[in-house]
Structure formats: C-alpha cells, structure tokens
C-alpha cells in the first residue's frame, strides 16, 4: 500500500466512492445527487491532503509538474498535456451546451403504481378460492372470461403483450412478472378490475391506464373467477396477511 503514491490513493478512493454511489445504492441515485456527493468527496480529499505540507507536496507535486512541464521532457508528455488542456475546457463547454439546449423530452410523469385500495375493497376474499370441489371448473370459467375479454391487451401468454398492447402507454400488466399479481392480494386485483384505470385515486394520476371499468361489463362472479384463473395459470399464489 505504501508504494502507491498519494495521488494514486486519492484517485482510487475517489473512483471507489463513485462506483459505490452509482452501483451499490438501491434504488439508484439520480445523477444530480451523485454529483453532489462526489463534490463533497472532492472537497474532503483536498482538505485532507492539504493539512500536512508533506502530503500537499506529494499530492500537488506531480500535478504541478504535469501542468508546468519541463524544458527537456519527451514529446509524449507534451502531447498528453495539450490533449488534457483541450479536453477539460471542451468537457465544460459541452456541459454548458447541454444545459442551455432546450430539451424535447416530454414531461416525466411519476405515479404510484400500486396505490392503496378504497376501504370497501380491503379485506375482500375470493369466494371461489376455498371451493375445492369446483376449483378446476371455476378456473376454466375464468379462463374463458380472460380469453373473451382480457387477452387483447394482456396477451395469450398473460405477459402483457396482447395484440393491442403496443397502443397503450402504460403497457398492460404482465401477470407472469413476479412483481405483479404475486405481490398483491386478490382484493386488490378485484378493485383494479372492477374500477379500472379511471377509478384510480388522485395520487395515481395521470389516468393513463387503459384498464376498463369491468364492473360495467362483467358480473362480480366473473371478476372473481378470472382472478382465480390468473393465479392458477401463472402458478403464483395471492399475497395474504398471514
């Protein structure tokens, strides 16, 4: 360790800090936050190396020598200085260009993906879940409902890739994805199916979901049966409170 010059150590620490902030923190930090933390790291490092004169010499010496150059230095050293001297202003010029150029990115629309259901839907249970005698029958009935109604968006494989999926901007939910129905209770599905995209609460605006209000088109029984089918086909179990 002692053989690495101070400037190398500082460089390594700086890069390690960056990598940790970039890849180890979950959920990922926005780049503006990373920039803020890295500025702090830079200030701390500079403080540290300038406390003792020896450290300061060890740290700034090579930098000074690189900037100032030497009369009898090689051509490569000269060339690398020219490159660095042009690259750094270019970098800042480019940053300035980017921040001044008007952005044509549409406004980002954040939304709550799984909002809390209204109270009347909390604690509902699927009346067909415990009916072991007619289970297969009810699943098949749910499948029929799915393939008559839901398949156009949610797809033949229940993967959210139905023939109309491309036309909707929130794509239809992919039920085979482990972060959808397996994380949710049946009552939540019943709410979302019954009330549709337009029935979402305020915090989930914009109401971009194309999900119809199925209570207008399917009976309560049919809605529970289709939920039974979704879990049976994908092999997931609904989330419960136990």
């Amino acid at each position: 360790m002692g053989r690495i010059p101070l400037i190398g150590k500082v460089g390594i620490i700086w890069v390690l800090m960056y990598l940790a902030l970039k890849f180890l923190v979950s959920p990922p930090l926005p780049s503006s936050v990373i920039f803020m933390y890295m500025s702090l790291v830079t200030v701390c490092v500079l403080l540290y190396v300038s406390v003792f004169q020896d450290d300061a010499d060890a740290f700034f010496g090579p930098i000074k020598r690189f900037i100032a150059g030497d009369d009898n230095e090689g051509g490569l050293r000269k060339l690398s200085r020219v490159v660095v001297f042009i690259a750094i202003p270019l970098f800042f010029g480019f940053r300035s260009y980017n921040s001044n150029m008007p952005s044509f990115e549409p406004p980002i629309q954040q939304r709550v993906i799984h909002p809390a259901p209204p109270t009347q839907f909390v604690g509902l249970y699927n009346p067909y879940r415990e009916d072991k005698e007619h289970f297969a029958e009810n699943v098949a009935a749910g499948g029929k409902i799915f393939f008559e109604n839901c398949v156009f968006c949610h797809g033949d494989k229940l993967d959210g890739n139905g023939i109309f999926a491309d036309g909707f901007n929130l794509r239809p939910a992919n039920f085979t994805d482990p972060t959808t129905i397996s994380m949710l209770q049946e009552a939540f599905l019943f709410w979302r199916i019954s009330k549709g995209g337009i029935g979402l609460p305020e915090e989930s605006t914009p109401w971009d979901s194309a999900m119809p209000r199925w209570e207008a088109m399917l009976s309560e029984e049919d809605r529970w049966k289709v939920i039974l089918f979704l879990y049976d086909y994908t092999g997931y179990a609904p989330r419960t409170w136990e």
């Binding site: 042009i86 202003p89 406004p107 499948g143 033949d156 109309f164 491309d166 109401w207 194309a210 119809p212």
Partner: protein, 529 residues
C-alpha cells in the same frame, strides 16, 4: 465411486436431451405430452378438438386456425400441400405477428413445442394420409434488391394481376379486396404490402419469396410458382419488399411541430409536404388499436397505423395525417357481399361455396372519419382527460374530418360528445382518399377566442394529442373505432441564442484558467532555479 456413478446417471439422463438437439423432420414430438401442453396453452383459442372454436375465437380476426381442416397458411411446401413439422414448429415458436398467436419459444422448451406440433397433427386425417415425404420449395441464389430488380418485379406485379387484390400501390385495396373469403367462409382482407411489420410469415424478401411460391392454403392467395422461376421470384419479392419502409418506424411519443415561414397549404399533394418541401420531414408513426375500453367494444379495427406530421407558422398549426383503409366509405354506400364477386378462375380449387348461415350484417357503410383529440384546456400538473374522449371532469377538444366534412366538438366521455356550432368551426382542411390511403391536412390558428372549449397552442409547450379513426366499411360508428393513447405535440422553439454564446465562453474561460496556472507555475519554478 460415487462420482463415477453420478457421472453415469448424468450421461443416461443427458442422452435423450442430446438426441433432441436436432430432431428429424417428421415426428420427434410426443402426442401425449403435447396434449397436456395444448390443453393448458392452446384450447382457449384453438378449442378442445382443434376446430379453432375456443372462447377467444369469436372476437379475433383472423380467427384461430381450425386444425381439423388441415389447411395451413405458412409453409415451405407447394400450394395445397401439408406443412412440414418444421413449418408448424416455426409458427409455434415465433408466432404470427399481428394476430393473437404469440411466440411460444420463451415459455415452452423446444421439446414442448415439438410435442405440441405432434398433437396438433392428430386433429386432421390429412396428416395421417400424408405418408410420402413432403417436397419443400427451395429458395435459389439470391438476387439482391436493386432499382432494376424492383422494376422487373413491378412489371410482374402487373402481369400476374397481384393488384386485383393488393391494389395498384399494394395497400390491400384492389377491386376484389372486400369480396374475399377464406375456405371457412369468413371474410379475409388481402395484405397491405406497404406495412411489412404486419406480415404474418415475415416481412423480408426471402419470406415474400416463399409466400408467392407456396401460396396461403385455405385463402384466396394462390401460388405463383408456375409463372415464376428463381430470378423472377426474387424480382417480385424485392418489389414487394420495396413497398414498405426499409426499417420499421420507431415510435417517438413527441410530434415535433416544425416552424415554417410561409403559409400552410391544406392540399396534402402540395410540394410543401413532400420530401424537400418545408413540411417534408419524416412523419411520426403511432399504433392504433380497437376501442376496447368502454362498452360497446370493437375488437377488429381496420386502422392499425397512423402517420402524422406537423408544422406551424406565426399564426397557425397544421397536421398532415395519413392512414390506410382498403375502401373509401360514405354513409349509405352499399356494402359488398363477401364471397359474392370472387373470380373463380383466379383462385382455382380454393374458391369455396359461401356460408349462408351468417347473421344479417348491415348492408350499407357509414362514413370514414378521423378525429384529432386535445385536452380542451391545458390541465394543471400531470392531469389529463381520460384518453378515450375525456371524462366527467376534464373534457377533450376534437377536430373531426368525417368523409370530407369538418367539425369541432368537445367530449366528456365516449358517449358524451357536444358538437360546436358549425358557423364557429375554425379548423380548415382538405385531402382525401387515393389508392388505399387517406391523406388529410387539418389546421387551425394557434390561439382561438373560445378559451374554454378550444385547445390553445403555445410555442415550446407540450400539448397532449391523440387520434381516433373509423372505417365505414367495417361497421365503425359510435363507440366502434380505432383509438390511440395520448402522445404529445411540441411546437419547436427556436434555439435560444445562449446555446451559441455560453459554451464557447465557458471553453475559453477554462482554457484561460489553465494557461494562467501554467504560466504562474513556470514563473515560480524559474525563480526557484
């Protein structure tokens, strides 16, 4: 000892897997295993007995394949012949784009798919009767696409009368297009050859080569193999391929409306809108889907693609909207009877008697129409009116072109449309139908007097925009239509002057700092010496 034993067992277990790597054409699938997969994955469309009558079949067009007929469209075998196992395997694996048939290769293993193919073959006796090996259409040495090859292909397209179904410009609008039926008596439309991403069997020249040499069994599409040799097949395939864009259009959710200096012409044929003109930029492409959100739903829309571009000047904003439709329809036009006017000689043995048991359909068409939808008032924050014609709280402003008539309306829900007084209609527009394609220009002043009902356009602001289309030959009236989701139109602001001033200043400042630093360092080094 244990290692040797486990190695031994591993080999025993692995052997069949290696054997399955390259199954011989013609039966490496297990019928029993295939039935288990079929009963879980396939019956909802293709039905318990393979008759294409599962619960999903009612609302899909094209309908799921009826395996009991033993007729398969996408083959490598000559016209009228059975498909090879590999043909069926390919369809199961890769699906048929634009239909309900998905690609199963991410869910089912290769062996699973072979098993399903084996089971599917039990539904029709024609497979059992097929004992001799099937001949396969060979694709000869490729002739790469070139202007000469495309021109020769165009001549063949005329000579072989492809235009009778596919239309002069290939948009699936030929004179007999609306009368065609398949062998089950269901109406069938000729493919629009200008949108190759919808081609079921693949959109590249080699796929087209295969289709024109094999035909599509059970449909009016014959094989032209008797009139084509390898060279001619490539020419025709290259021509058909050239009718579609080189690459599938990518979706950009923002229509960038371009600032122009002069007037915005309402005639879509004006050189202004053509390549090289002020409004000659590439159009945005958006997918259109059936209105399946509100009762009464529409599952088989005609219009699946819409192309839009926009320009503005200091007073007005204009949109050029184009979409494909195999027929021009006006309210009251008589509808053709499917199967009624099929030319028998063209389709040989595949012209079948029509099914007279079909329920009485409407006998006259309604108007073809397009609507461009905006929020009536720019909403606060992220709120937007519901994308299908607004909601109770937030209304939308619609610019309607209905078989040549212009109107403006507001809507608070799919069945709550209020027409604006005709004398106050501020939009202007023109355009019409030509060779299977509509091209319509709609324009309006950027700002209007009615700030409550009319959307207002500001430079540099994102305005939500959506589209709705109707094909009057497809029963599309009322709630039945093609819809799009919300996208954006942005009136491109001029590049601010800062963009050209600040970056060079920053560059010079940083460079100057570097040079001063170097100068000072050298000076202090010199003084030390």
């Amino acid at each position: 000892m244990r290692t040797i034993l486990s190695l031994f067992f591993f080999l025993i277990l692995a052997l069949p897997a290696f054997a399955d790597e390259k199954p011989a054409s013609g039966g490496s699938g297990n019928v029993e295993a295939g039935k288990v997969i079929y009963d879980k994955r396939c019956i909802f469309c293709h039905g318990k007995e393979g008759a294409g009558d599962g619960p999903a079949s009612e609302r899909f067009s094209p309908k799921p394949r009826d395996f009991t007929m033993g007729l398969f469209k996408y083959r490598t075998t000559p016209n009228g012949m059975m498909p090879t196992d590999d043909d069926l395997f390919k369809v199961v694996s890769h699906g048929l784009p634009g239909t309900g048939m998905p690609a199963w290769d991410d869910v089912l293993s290769e062996q699973d798919r072979r098993d399903v193919v084996a089971y599917i073959k039990t539904f029709s006796e024609r497979f059992a009767k097929q004992t001799e090996p099937l001949p396969v259409v060979a694709i000869g040495a490729e002739i790469p696409s070139s202007p000469e090859s495309i021109e020769k292909g165009r001549e063949l397209f005329q000579k072989l009368e492809c235009f009778k179904c596919h239309g002069n410009e290939g948009r699936g609008n030929g004179p007999s297009a609306l009368t065609l039926t398949d062998d089950k008596g269901d109406p069938i439309l000729p493919r629009n050859l200008t949108l190759n991403w919808h081609f079921r069997g693949g959109g590249e020249a080699k796929d087209i080569y295969m289709r024109i040499n094999t035909g599509l069994n059970g449909t009016p599409m014959p094989s032209f193999t008797d009139s084509l040799d390898n060279e001619k097949s490539w020419h025709l395939a290259n021509y058909v391929r050239s009718l579609s864009p080189a690459t599938r259009p990518a979706m950009d959710v923002v229509i960038k409306s371009k600032k122009v200096t002069g007037a915005i012409p309402t005639d879509p044929a004006d050189p202004f809108w053509q390549a090289g003109g002020e409004g000659g930029q590439d159009a945005n492409w958006f997918p259109m889907v059936g209105q399946v959100v509100r009762h009464e739903r529409h599952f088989t829309p005609t219009v699946r693609d819409i192309f839009v571009k926009s320009v503005f000047n200091q007073d007005e904003i204009g949109f050029l909207i184009s979409w494909n439709d195999p027929s021009e329809s006006k309210e009251g036009d008589p509808l053709p009877t499917p199967g009624g006017a099929v030319e028998e000689d063209l389709f040989g043995s595949f012209g079948q008697e029509e099914d007279s048991s079909k329920a009485a359909a409407p006998t006259t068409a309604s108007d073809d129409a397009i609507s461009v939808q905006f929020p009536s008032v720019k909403p606060e924050g992220f709120k937007k009116p519901f994308f299908v014609r607004g909601d109770d709280k937030l209304s939308v402003n619609l610019w309607n072109w209905t078989a040549g008539k212009l109107s403006e309306s507001n809507s608070n829900g799919i069945d709550k449309e209020t027409m604006q007084a005709q004398e106050g209609v501020a939009i202007q527009g023109a355009g019409g139908y030509k060779e299977g394609q509509y091209q319509i220009v709609l324009k309006r002043s950027l700002l209007s007097d009615d700030k409550v009902n009319d959307t207002q356009f500001e430079v540099g602001k994102f305005t939500s925009i959506a589209f709705q289309a109707r094909d009057g030959h497809n029963g599309e009236t009322g709630t039945k239509m093609s819809i799009s989701h919300w996208y954006f139109v942005l009136l491109e602001p001029e590049t601010p002057k800062e963009v050209f001033i600040y970056p060079p200043l920053v560059f010079l400042a940083v460079l100057g700092f570097e040079l001063i630093l170097r100068w000072r360092l050298r000076k202090s080094n010199d003084s030390k010496k």
